[in-house]
Symmetry: C2
Subunit: 417 residues, 2 copies
């Protein structure tokens, strides 16, 4: 894509109330725009990163055997009254009346709606187990929306739901889901720990939160780096500096962290109130046993920025970068330099390399280098008078200092290995 | 995909208040579920159709040179006050207060937000023209929500916005967008007429509505079938049976129709109130000239059902069908029949044919045939004792009567031509 034609402009000024690094960098690099506190737009570069994250998640959910669906955000009160959560979720749920006076709300989560839908599809033990997921917009009127895209009032969530005849079947799927979650976060360039946490509203058992270490986090965990054992400090009775209760050799450490995903054994908490049952082999009605599994898309995106940046800008992991390569034409656009840069651009595209071409006429060399570091595309390719005389290009990784001066063919080879 | 593992069940009962054919068929075939009037969930089969439609639209929008973005649905009142539409859209806009007392609303459309974002990206004539689009959830508290998915209170819209220095540049893009729209509808299996219509709230010029003839439509147009000239009867002074004013040889006819898309020249209606300007070559500030272009995703999906169905069910056009082929294993699942059906299933998948495999143990032959017609996948493949003895399969198109008994290889050849 040609930068001269992209709907995009790096920003010098951005909202002063943004204290989070993720928001500051994403706003400056024009990946996002802020409409109000906790509510953001995704411009072309941000949209591309968001899509890459979504594709990774879809692949891992499909591999789990789950099918994609889409539930609405607008819910009638009645669905939430069944579990009494219209009241208990009232503090963060947007609730209002429509023009006919009916009470409706915007879904902060979908367990109730999912159970209601499940009733129409699941009749018998032969219909179980099943799993479905959606990638859908959620609304939560967060009292504190100061963590940039980590805590939005409007945000996208991947929520997966599983349906089972019994706890054993749920436990089996739960372990598979845990593995799939680890794959998602690893692919997105994050080291996430499956941390034991309170089941909260959902379950008396432990649930698991997937935690990533960052300075920006709103959570804390006790972590053993040796074996990966981790507990949320909210439930942990363990102390920093003591021996890990799991591997018995590592030492526990306390750091701030961001929760990028969570998985819950719901049991029959949501199926019973709405009468979501199946007939067992004896023909008896039994409540369906459920699990729910969430990943916040923009929260994951923001966490990647919190973990992968330096003082010049973002350093995207390759799998979620908006483009793989950033081609910069540096210096006056003489016919010869135009030729070399266009040739390089077309050759990269032809080789299947996703490339952003900074062909802007009016930007200075300094601006181009500055913007490239800020945007954070993994591979930077420079063509200039200096490289032109040698019929070569400069190749540099965003996270390394070394600049290689190599032929276009060698450059393409490096990028398509 | 194996039907025995799909989150899916054809329905005998469905909400009695659904009068529209699209809703009746989509509910019975379990493509959708109804949560409240005008608010639906998309289950796996419906989700797949929706995705196919979205991919077609994205391809045509990208070909126009537009980049994809995503704007939020939750808007502060201030953005809508600038154009006074907080008041004028009040009847269909969900407006309410958040927990801090701030007035917010759910976007029924995005011209205002788009103009506000445009301000941060467009500075100069060198930044124009540009075009961006989103595929995003809209909310409209429709007083009548009786047309199934044709008129949802929550629905997905593709909205494209273009930005120009002047009316001439807008006119040029408008014509390109018109062509792209025709391509989208043709690819989705619809004959849509670019119908002259009132600019409504947006413009004093004519706009264009893309109309598809159906019995279910809420609109009417005067149409010349000879040259394709069409006018919305709301603005038309022409009478049925008179000569076409364009080609002067066809005769005008009046039919009901569904509007599947619309395109508007907005001019400076939205840029001026929010101060969305660019600097021209003389350095003078000028308001940006805008266009907006919409397609309702679920409305398009519902229109396809209204146009493509018979008394047995839906007849999906191939490009938007949830699967290309529906493989039915008919009769008792003997080891030999299992072998043939599994072999057929794997061979189809290996050849890249998207196939739904009705491998259900407990469904009767009658149910399988009935469901296949209801679901409406374009190609039906049957394996049974009858075909087994000849080591062949039966191939039938959903919209034809003829059944071919052919080898598996010949079947795959027909499907991958």
């Amino acid at each position: 894509m040609r930068e001269s034609q992209l709907f995009f402009k790096t920003q010098k000024d951005f909202p002063k109330d943004e204290v989070a690094i993720n928001a500051q960098l994403l706003l400056r690099a024009n990946f996002i725009e802020k409409l109000m506190a906790g509510v953001y737009s995704y411009l072309p570069l941000g949209y591309r990163v968001r899509e890459k994250i979504i594709r990774i998640i879809e692949e891992e959910m499909n591999a789990l055997g789950a099918a994609e669906i889409l539930m609405p955000a607008l819910h009638p009160r009645s669905v939430w009254d069944a579990t009494k959560r219209w009241e208990t979720m009232g503090k963060i749920m947007y609730q209002f009346k429509d023009h006919s006076g009916r009470e409706v709300g915007l879904g902060p989560t979908h367990e109730e709606v999912m159970a209601v839908i499940g009733k129409t599809v699941i009749d018998s033990y032969a219909d179980l187990p099943r799993a479905v997921y959606q990638i859908q917009t959620k609304y939560r009127d967060e009292p504190r929306a100061k963590s940039g895209v980590l805590r939005g009032r409007e945000f996208t969530m991947k929520d997966l739901y599983s349906f089972h005849t019994d706890e054993a079947s749920l436990a089996e799927f739960y372990e598979e889901a845990k593995k799939a979650y680890t794959k998602v976060f690893t692919r997105a360039g994050l080291k996430a720990y499956a941390t034991e946490a309170s089941g909260g509203d959902f379950t008396k058992e432990y649930s698991h939160e997937f935690m990533v270490e960052t300075n920006a986090g709103e959570d804390e965990m006790m972590l053993c780096r040796l074996c990966g054992f981790a507990q949320n400090t909210e439930i942990s009775k363990l102390k920093s500096g003591t021996q890990c209760p799991k591997c018995q050799s590592g030492v526990l450490d306390k750091v701030t962290s961001v929760e990028v995903g969570n998985i819950f054994k719901l049991g029959t908490k949501f199926s019973e109130p709405v009468g979501f049952t199946y007939k067992n082999q004896e023909g008896r009605s039994m409540p369906v046993v459920m699990g729910s599994y969430g990943i916040g898309i923009e929260r994951l995106l923001g966490t990647i920025v919190e973990v992968h940046h330096d003082d010049k800008g973002i350093v995207w992991p390759e799998a979620v970068a908006p483009f793989k390569a950033h081609l910069l034409r540096i210096g006056e656009a003489t016919p010869e330099l135009q030729r070399l840069s266009e040739e390089t651009y077309h050759a990269l595209q032809k080789s299947g390399v996703e490339v952003l071409f900074d062909d802007r006429e009016r930007a200075s060399s300094g601006e181009k280098f500055f913007d490239a570091d800020l945007i954070g595309i993994p591979w930077r390719i420079v063509v200039s008078e200096k490289t032109l005389v040698r019929e070569k290009v400069e190749l540099k990784r965003r996270n390394e200092q070394e600049v290689k001066v190599i032929t276009l063919n060698a450059c393409i080879k490096s990028l398509t290995l």
